[in-house]
């Protein structure tokens, strides 16, 4: 990643589609600038010499806690189906996702 990465409309469209966040035509330029500045920050960090440093996934020096394999939850179906925009026969309904 070079520190001269500049995002254009195409990249903004792709990122907004992947994130399912709509970006109005008038906002594209501004969003592109903001995203570019984030990339610049990463480019800056990439310059740090990390030879001999193990990749880190989490900043905490702790390991995963585990829970026993026990069923502790009961149905909350009636409550959550009410929250859904559409439901029928105890199923959530969404716009068709396959042709």
């Amino acid at each position: 990643m070079s520190d001269k990465t500049i995002l254009g409309k195409h990249e903004v469209d792709t990122i907004s589609r992947l994130a399912a966040i709509s970006v109005a035509e008038s906002e594209v330029e501004q969003v592109a600038e903001k995203l570019t500045s984030i990339l610049d920050l990463f480019a800056q960090m990439e310059k740090v010499n990390t030879d001999g440093v193990a990749p880190m996934s989490h900043p905490l020096d702790q390991v995963q806690r585990l829970r026993p394999d026990v069923v502790t939850e009961t149905s909350i179906r009636e409550k959550v189906l009410k929250l859904a925009p559409s439901s029928e026969d105890n199923l959530f309904l969404v716009p068709q996702v396959i042709d």
Partner: protein, 476 residues
Amino acid sequence: MTWEVVIGLEIHAQLTTKSKIFSGSSVAYGAEPNTQANLLDLGMPGQLPVLNQAVVPKAIKLGLAIGAEIGMRSVFDRKNYFYPDSPKGYQTSQFTYPIVDKGGVVEIEMDGEIRKIGVTRAHLEEDAGKSIHDAFPGQTAIDLNRAGTPLLEIVSEPDMRSSKEAVAYAKKMHELVQYLGICDGNMQEGSFRVDSNVSIRKPGAPLGTRTELKNINSFRFIEAAIEIEIERQIEIIESGGSIVQETRLYDADKNETRSMREKEEANDYRYFPCPDLLPIIITEADIEAVRATMPELAGEKQARYETEFGLSEYDAALLTGSRQMAEYFEALLAKTQDAKLSANWVMGALSKSLNQNNVAIEDSPVSAEALASLLARIQDNTLSGKIAKQVFDAMWKGEGSPDEIIEAQGLKQITDSSAIEALVDDVLAANTAQVEAYKGGQEKMFGFFVGQVMKASKGQASPAQVNGVLKAKLNA
């Protein structure tokens, strides 16, 4: 023009747990829709996942069984995509640091030759919910009970060169996870799902573009789907076209594969470490603890059956073909103490009835204990083998215990020597011409007399005693 087929499999094995991988919701199969999805499974804000401790040793078990490196520090990542059966907007999976790392190998036998299939990795992840596409016109219905069910995704190397090899590997893995007790292997309920990556190339050429065949729930259909997909790819390439990398569905009714044509555009999962879950750290002590609980696997069992019980390689392989069958055999053997007799009955009458009625051995109406009490009646000479089969059929139909059936049907073997002598005398008296022929040197007539006596006794005379008495009388 010859093409080389290249197949790799991704197998999703549902780990046998009571609760989900990151929540305390039940994973029981067949529940009412959406009754087993809590706030976490529904992707509600403010919920934090906590890993189910049962899944870790199960994953290690598989790693040890295939000789893979265990990921001593494995990390959960988010696989980001939007699909309504995954309400969080990502699937929690393991990408860079899987719990079972490289080095795994599974051996399959093809036409008497051992082939080694590499296992690239196996990682923990959560299942998605279920989408129902055909129930409501223009809409997709979602049941989230399955969302968050623990899966171990087992990824093979592209080492298979035919649909038969792919199925042999899938069956081997199916047998293995059940032997290990980490997955129930129920394909109908989706506990063991096989995705096949299929491509073709000229031998020695780089890998061709692959297509993925998803969610096929029987070995027979996996083989058929791969076959038809290979044909499709060859046809396209030989007529100058090129293969599009995509997911294809297999339609068993039409025996064809077709593109899923999802509305989502090309995938870009943007994996990154899940900040809600810390790394899983496994110690040498953890691994040793799991190693101590490793069950005897099919290959080891087969070798033991041959050396310890003197069974043939063929019989030993059949009996260890599934964990359930081996368990049945061992339970039977514990009672009868006769390996050959037990093996013959498991592979004979029992397997025949199971196959004819399409019943799994663990659901057999004749339990190992019940069969043992039948075989005890052969061992104490109450029944001949032939009559025992008759009793077995009655037991299969639920007519009672062996002793009840023997009593009710009057099937007790005749071992009273005076009764057998009387039967023999009757037969010899009624067949004087044959007796003359025998005495004149036609010794093969002997079998005829045995048959007649057995018939007269309705099969109940002890064959050994009939033989003895006949010999004595004819040679007198």
